[in-house]
């Protein structure tokens, strides 16, 4: 209890610094401080917003499916949730395969036995489901055929009558035309008849179309049971395939097994070398020994080639935006300080800032691809990538590549401006009194810069950096989509390209992930900003 009351104010302060003001009333309520006021605040600022968000979800749930688009209907929240679960399952499968690839010795054998046993069970139920699905499909098909038949008959009948009617109208037209040419009928009457014929034809087309639409509607909507049976059968077949792949990774694809086999071959070749009859044979065996020895060592270092999951892509996006952001800050802050200190520098840079600030990230990306691409003629051998992707580097999992650098540079280029402008503003708007202090103390340029100017402009600088990070995050998604640098942007683009029934839901899922990460980044910057701001934080609301 004592501890609890001790941490009350630190806790409230933490809430304040992190900007989650909403949590303030519940904490105060917990300590019994003005309960009535707190409850009122909770109702107003916590419950109502939650209800509102829920209401939005309900509206989405109801309105979404009503809006048919060219790529299917708008997925409901539950479909998006399913997509999220599927993404997680995909990740878990990658984990399982990776584990299977790496596992060694007895554990491997146990694991193999277990997976095989499970596979047996799975295969059995897969076969059952498949048979069931086939049965249901067949039944569904005959149901549909029964539905289609009368409509189809109607269509055929209509087609036949229309054909007759068309022929009759044609005859009539020919007859009248003859009369006109003989002068026994007026040209106007023929024109009228042609018009009438065209109108009739349009009507016929419309009638045919309505029946065709009816047919399409039936064909497009197979019985729900069929859909479900197919889905279930598909799902389990998918699982079976995954288990088979796991077995692959537990046996022939297993790292330790591959090393084993290379060693075994080396021994065989070494033995053969001793008994080799001809010089050529001896040479061949010796070569085999060397290559298998090399193979065994290189296999030892092999990593499981993981497929990109949304989890990994999120990490990579965050890393890319961070690199871009640091680059932007590294350029923007010194430049901004120079601008703020010296009006000539400011005047020189203003036209450049004004012209380049509005340029679209897409343009920057293309420019960087061309310009920076020249620095990496052979990415595999480039020291930067060798260093980043070295096995011992903890960041190797990010798989740094030129595309990532291009994206990061694009982020930097677009995120540069807010930080630059704000830093310049912060430096130039420094309190005159503070400068007077520096003058009185006869501080040199550098200590004036580091002890007075920079600390004094930090709050504005950080406000700029916060905007920069926000801009960078938005830009990054576009840059990744375009440059095919792995990350959330590429995830979205890939999904768009996939065009599967789940793609739309995945895109909406990505939308939430991007939003939540963006929110988290912004909060992070707010906390930083509050930590460097020396007033009471009111300027960062």
């Amino acid at each position: 209890m004592k501890l609890l009351s001790k941490i009350k104010y630190p806790l409230l302060k933490l809430i304040d610094i992190s900007g989650f003001k909403v949590l303030d009333p519940p904490v105060r309520l917990m300590y019994g401080e003005e309960p009535e006021k707190q409850v009122r605040d909770i109702l107003r600022y916590m419950l109502l917003p939650i209800v509102f968000v829920l209401a939005c979800v309900v509206v989405w749930n109801v309105a979404g499916p009503k809006h048919k688009t060219k790529s299917g209907e708008v997925p409901t929240p539950s479909k998006v949730w399913t997509a999220a679960q599927d993404s997680t399952r995909f990740k878990n499968r990658e984990n399982e395969k990776q584990a299977a690839f790496l596992v060694e010795g007895e554990v491997r054998e146990q694991e193999l036995a277990r997976v095989k046993a499970e596979l047996l069970k799975l295969e059995e139920s897969a076969a059952n489901l498949k048979a069931q699905s086939a049965e249901v499909t067949l039944k569904g098909q005959s149901e549909m055929d029964a539905k289609i038949l009368p409509v189809k008959t109607r269509l055929d009948e209509l087609k036949a009558t229309l054909k007759l009617a068309k022929a009759a109208r044609k005859e009539e037209l020919v007859a009248l035309a003859d009369k006109v040419s003989q002068g026994s009928a007026s040209g106007e009457s023929l024109i009228a008849l042609v018009e009438q014929d065209a109108a009739e034809y349009e009507k016929e087309k419309a009638r045919l179309k309505s029946i065709n639409d009816e047919l399409d509607a039936i064909r497009d909507n197979p019985p729900a049971a069929v859909k479900k049976a197919q889905l279930d059968s598909n799902k389990i077949a998918d699982e079976v395939q995954h288990y088979k792949k796991r077995i692959d990774y537990l046996t022939t694809g297993n790292r330790s097994m591959k090393v084993e086999s290379a060693k075994e071959k080396e021994l065989t070749a070494a033995a053969a070398l001793k008994t080799s009859a001809t010089g050529a044979d001896a040479l061949k065996q010796a070569k085999a020994v060397v290559s298998n020895r090399k193979k065994a060592t290189s296999t030892l270092e092999q990593e499981y080639p993981r497929a990109a999951t949304i989890y990994w892509q999120t990490w990579r996006s965050v890393a890319t935006v961070f690199v871009g952001f640091v680059l932007a800050a590294a350029v923007a802050i010194p430049l901004g300080i120079m601008c703020g200190l010296n009006r000539i520098v400011m005047a020189c840079l203003t036209p450049i800032i004004s012209i380049f600030r509005p340029v679209s990230p897409v343009v920057w990306l293309l420019i960087f691809q061309i310009v920076i691409g020249a620095f990496f003629p052979d990415p595999d051998e480039h020291p930067l990538f060798r260093f980043m992707n070295h096995d011992n580097n903890p960041l190797a999992f990010l798989k740094t590549n030129p595309a990532m650098i291009f994206s990061a540079c694009t982020v930097a280029m677009c995120a540069l401006w807010p930080a630059l402008v704000n830093t310049a503003l912060g430096v130039s708007a420094i309190d005159k009194d503070h400068l007077n202090v520096a003058k009185v103390l006869r501080l040199g340029f550098w200590s004036r810069l580091f002890k007075i100017i920079i600390p004094s402009s930090l709050p504005l600088m950080f406000a700029g950096l916060r905007i920069s990070l926000g801009v960078g995050w938005m830009v990054l998604i576009a840059a990744e989509a375009l440059s095919s640098s792995d990350g959330l942007g590429k995830f979205v683009w890939d999904e768009y390209q996939n065009g599967s029934s789940q793609s739309f839901a995945n895109i909406i899922l990505a939308c939430f992930v991007v939003g939540i990460i963006g929110f988290a980044l912004d909060r992070f910057m707010i906390v930083l900003q509050r930590m460097v701001s020396f007033d009471d934080g009111s300027s960062t609301a």
Binding site: D433, H434, N436, V440, L441, P455, F534, D536
Partner: protein, 301 residues
């Protein structure tokens, strides 16, 4: 003889022809260890005067000398205490002072530094608040930090630029006493700018009114001939205090009136204030001198 001198200084702005003088023909000499108060209305160019003394601004004409040496740059020999404290808000009390001390005494060892700083923090009674940031302190406390910082530089001249004008009356009197006490213990040359007659009379050896800008100038001084330490509680009953106070007030009011009417050539009638029962020998000639002077145009020259 005089330690700090302002010699025929003019400050103004604008191009030749339509130039506006802020300060005109300023002459001031302050003796060593003398406490001089410059009193003036707000906007009369007090701060410009202070900037001149501190070296933050250069005169267009004339010069500022300390100990006979012409000063054209600010420096720690003239410790200045600003009206709005000028503390660096991102540094704690200790760090604020440390920054200054380190800059002025770069050779001080770490322990010396700490001791030095703590002495001045103690002097202004802020030892418990040494790690507080300025925004956590009250106005009075902030000004004390500022004072400690200024003093810690051991300046030859202490320049106080309306140091107490932003504080409430109680804090103000408290600080006045403290400044006086510290000054008493370690006498230095002080130039204080203020707009408070009571304060000036209480603290200064000599009071010099600054006429209204534009083209403000220093008029003749009032000497405060009261023994130190002065006790604020009994001061109100002191006839010399009363006399000086009313005299200066009337004089200042006159300046104000004059400025409002837009003419400086008009004679200012000074009220004939007769001291009740206090007539120190030196006060009378001074007073008559002032009277005499005030009959002539104040800024005629």
């Amino acid at each position: 003889m005089s330690f700090l001198e302002i010699d025929n200084v003019n400050v103004g702005f604008g191009p030749v022809g339509s130039r506006t003088e802020v300060l005109e023909n300023i002459n001031l000499s302050v003796k060593e260890k003398e406490f001089v108060a410059v009193i003036g209305f707000s906007g009369s160019g007090k701060s410009t005067l202070m900037n001149l003394l501190a070296g933050l601004q250069l005169p267009d004409q004339g010069e500022v000398r300390i100990n006979g040496e012409v000063k054209s740059k600010p420096g720690p020999d003239r410790g200045i205490m600003f009206q709005n404290y000028s503390l660096l808000p991102w540094l704690s009390v200790f760090e604020n002072i440390e920054l200054a001390v380190k800059a002025v005494f770069p050779k001080m060892s770490k322990s010396e530094l700490e001791e030095h700083i703590m002495r001045y923090i103690g002097m202004v009674k802020l030892t418990p608040a040494r790690d507080k940031k300025p925004h956590e302190l009250s106005g009075g406390m902030r000004q004390r930090v500022s004072l400690a910082r200024t003093l810690s530089l051991k300046p030859e001249v202490l320049l106080l630029d309306e140091p107490l004008s932003a504080l409430d009356a109680l804090t103000r009197s408290e600080l006045q006493d403290e400044i006086l006490k510290i000054w008493d213990e370690d006498k230095r040359t002080v130039v204080m700018i203020t707009n408070d007659v009571d304060e000036a009379v209480l603290m200064a050896d000599r009071i010099i009114p600054l006429t209204m800008s534009p083209a403000a100038t220093l008029s003749d001084d009032f000497v405060v001939n009261m023994p130190r330490p002065r006790d604020r509680h009994t001061l109100n009953d002191h006839p010399e205090f009363m006399r000086l106070k009313s005299e200066i007030t009337s004089y200042m009011m006159g300046i104000n009136q004059e400025s409002k009417e837009g003419t400086k050539d008009k004679l200012v009638p000074m009220p004939k204030v007769t001291p009740k029962d206090f007539d120190p020998p030196s006060a009378a000639p001074k007073f008559s001198h002032l009277q005499e002077k005030s009959m002539s145009p104040t800024s005629g020259s």
